[in-house]
Amino acid sequence: MIKFDNVCFAYDKNNILNNISLSVKKGEFVAIVGRNGAGKTTLMKLLNGLLKPTSGVVTIANLNTSVTRTSELARHVGFLFQNPDRQICRNTVKAEIEFGLKCILTDNADIEKRCRNTIEKFGLLPDKDPFSMSRGERQKVALASVLALSPEILVLDEPTTGLDYKECMHIMETINELNDNGTTVIMVCHDMELVADFAGRIIVVGEGRILDDDVCRSVMSRPEVLKEASLAPPQIVELAIKLGKGFEDVFTLDEMTGIISQRAKREGCIM
């Protein structure tokens, strides 16, 4: 679905990404993590041709991004930015969703149908002015207008910045559901708790290189890798590492609760 083959990217003679090779299969949920300035955003922009590799090849849905226009790639790749205000440019929810559809599709009946379905699915008010909504609601409108096109790949650049926990969970659950239905999801995110809860695989980026690329559990259990990328593991994982022996495989809150209660019972120290 997505393939980076020895990709380098330089801007003004500064190498931002060096020899990145990776591939993502259909239906994966990949989180890209790393500190600000590590090259995450560059990596994302290479995914939909906003940036073209200086050398190497990026292939998305069998299209070479270097020779395909971004507007063409947009049929396959939906992109949700950190700031919904950069995306929303119409003064009703319905017009906004239609605008996105019209960029790609030509069949008016189809546009009308998709627009209606999306509004219904997201429970939006079609005539509301997006600019009078809260940031979380605007992000939801932005997401809806991206998803109206039912893209095969969904790219998210810190989708939950500036949202409260409730809004954040709402967005993440929508994305998770899509992923369950086969959409490939790539997400840049700072919140390691969120990453641990939702992503199946983590790519750690630092200094323009891939520092680690593995399933979520394995990456999280390597504190030295996270440290190199200036990241802290989720609290439960950090606790498990500190507790050491017997807690090696603990990853979630439930697992932690389970193992502690088990051992407490065994040692008979129930109060």
Binding site: L50, T70, F81, Q87, C103
Partner: protein, 254 residues
């Protein structure tokens, strides 16, 4: 070209000049390139400009500016050179086009003047902190701080808005708006609706900025609030004298 007006930090002779004398020098050099009608003299002024940039340690940026200006110059040159039809024909071209010696000289002068007059301002602005410039305007020229603050804020917001616009265009391209089209008219048409999000985010930004300035005592500011004082030193007089001499030379050579 990006960031050409951005302040370049330094402790060079040029940096140490009084902001006011820097502006005077830039103005005099600017005037000099118009005050003469001699190709060599104008080239001389460009050389002085480059020398100034060298002293200020920004010769790289000066060259990149020079190249950009010459690029614009070539377009102007081509437009002019075929327009002037008086004088002796030097070169005959098809379509009833020809180049005359008067035309050639005029066009070359035009380009050189453009370069000679633009460079000093840009170079000086690159080595002057905006705040110094406005402070000195408030202190020495008695311009109200309100106006200089508005000016400085407008300048400061340019790159921020530019950044915002790039972000908006990227976001729209990503959803399939054909900004990557080669047709400039079509591109402009696509660009217009985007002014709405830019305007809205700008208004929010500016409001926040106003609150922030107010909460830091903007309204209390008086003419003599500025911490830094700007005295003229020997160097200033020498530099200004030098620029006046250049201007006089230009007028004499005319």
């Amino acid at each position: 070209m990006k960031g050409i007006l951005e302040y370049s930090q330094g402790e060079t002779v040029i940096h140490r000049l009084n902001p006011l004398s820097k502006m005077v020098i830039a103005f005099l050099l600017c005037l000099s390139s118009f005050a003469n009608n001699n190709i060599y003299c104008t080239i001389g002024i460009i050389v002085v400009n480059l020398l100034m940039a060298y002293l200020a340690g920004i010769i790289d940026r000066a060259f990149s500016l020079l190249i950009t200006l010459f690029k614009i110059g070539i377009v102007l040159f081509l437009l002019q050179v075929f327009f002037i039809r008086t004088g002796n024909t030097l070169l005959n071209l098809p379509f009833n086009l020809y180049i005359t010696d008067t035309g050639l000289k005029f066009s070359i002068m035009l380009v050189l003047r453009l370069v000679g007059a633009t460079m000093p301002l840009v170079i000086i602005l690159t080595v002057t902190r905006m705040s110094d410039l406005t402070n000195v305007m408030v202190q020495k020229l008695h311009i109200p701080y309100k106006y200089t603050f508005a000016f400085i804020t407008a300048l400061r917001f340019i790159p921020i808005f530019e950044n915002e616009m790039t972000g908006i265009i990227e976001a729209q391209t990503a959803r399939g708006v054909e900004f990557d089209t080669k047709n400039p008219v079509k591109k402009l048409k696509l660009l217009l609706p985007l002014c709405v999000p830019l305007l809205i985010s700008s208004v929010k930004r500016i409001e926040g900025s106003a609150i922030s300035a107010e909460l830091r005592g903007f309204n209390l500011r008086r003419k003599d609030s500025g911490y830094k004082t700007y005295r003229f030193i020997g160097l200033d007089y020498i530099a200004m004298l030098f620029s006046i001499m250049i201007l006089l030379t230009c007028i004499i050579i005319l």
